[in-house]
């Protein structure tokens, strides 16, 4: 018998406890609510590790089976969300390795971080030869409409979704989880295995690109 002290386990949030209990009782509505909340993100994250979307869908389905199997044993040392997503990444990684995917996730991140990507093209700024080096050549044109306060038209929504889809995979995932799904920085870092700085770099690049896309949309004739 070892001599380690049993530290008290971190306490699950009330909402996690409620959900957990409902699931264990076989509450279908609770299960559906959880599925609706997390399934798309599970597919999205799995896509980072496996070859295509249909495989990612399989990984997500397998994840839920893993969740159900592990439900009784789950000790609540992490949040429900963290636990579910860690099951997913484990399955996805195994699947990805089995398929010998051309670019493993770690290399994907590295390549996305390596490239130098200025938030704004350098030609928008004055050079050492100009009057105010590093200053705007011309100020960005203000957006006539306050985009965020307007009801998003179907057209603009579609346009934005395309812009996000066009992002490199990890940038796309980070901005979707943070800014669309409202995850915290910590949650994203945990699930993707990123450190905070790298996560922020990816977020920064993604946001800069989306801003540029919005700018183009609003100034297109």
């Amino acid at each position: 018998m070892d001599n380690t002290v049993n530290l008290p386990l971190p306490v699950l949030s009330t909402s996690d406890l409620t959900q957990l209990e409902a699931l264990r009782q076989g509450d279908e509505a609770a299960f559906l609510a959880l599925v609706r909340e997390f399934h798309p993100a599970l597919v999205r994250i799995a896509s980072l590790y496996v070859s295509d979307r249909s495989v990612a869908e399989e990984v997500a389905q397998e994840t839920w089976l893993g969740v159900l199997k592990g439900l009784e044993r789950f000790e609540g040392r992490s949040s429900l969300k963290t636990w579910i997503f860690s099951i997913a990444t484990n399955i996805a990684k195994t699947r990805g390795q089995r398929e010998r995917r051309s670019l493993p996730f770690s290399a994907l991140i590295e390549s996305e971080l390596e490239a130098d990507e200025p938030a704004v093209p350098p030609d928008r700024f004055q050079t050492e030869a100009d009057k105010y080096p590093g200053g705007w050549v011309s100020f960005p044109a203000a957006w006539d409409v306050t985009v965020d306060q307007q009801f998003l038209s179907g057209e603009l929504m579609g346009y934005l979704e395309q812009a996000i889809k066009a992002l490199p995979p990890t940038q796309c995932t980070v901005i979707t989880l943070r800014d669309i799904e409202g995850w915290t920085s910590e949650e994203v870092c945990n699930v993707l295995g990123l450190d905070e700085t790298n996560q922020r770099v990816l977020l920064h690049r993604a946001r800069s690109k989306v801003r540029r896309a919005l700018d183009q949309y609003l100034h297109a004739e």
């Binding site: 279908e28 599925v35 399934h39 704004v120 350098p122 965020d148 901005i175 669309i180």
Partner: protein
């Protein structure tokens, strides 16, 4: 560290650090002082904020009907065992 002036080109690179509250107090002060006197950067920062808020308005993806059905069946199967 010498008190360096923050250029617009540098500022646009630290906007996310600013929103995430990761700038040192000194850097934060420099950032805010610059935005206060530079209309170009004030516009840019405002546009970044709007971009983030607009993203927040996008509907989260939903699970396709057939995928949901499949999971419901799996759940009922699990309940039986």
């Amino acid at each position: 560290m010498t008190e360096e002036k923050l250029t617009c080109q540098q500022l646009v690179e630290i906007v996310t650090d600013y929103f995430e509250d990761k700038l040192s107090p000194e850097a934060r002060a420099r950032f805010e002082a610059h935005v206060a006197v530079c209309p170009g950067c004030a516009t840019y920062v405002e546009q970044m904020q709007q971009t983030i808020r607009t993203l927040g308005q996008l509907p989260p993806e939903s699970i396709p009907e057939d995928a949901q059905e499949k999971l419901l069946r799996a759940f009922r199967e699990w309940k039986r065992t």
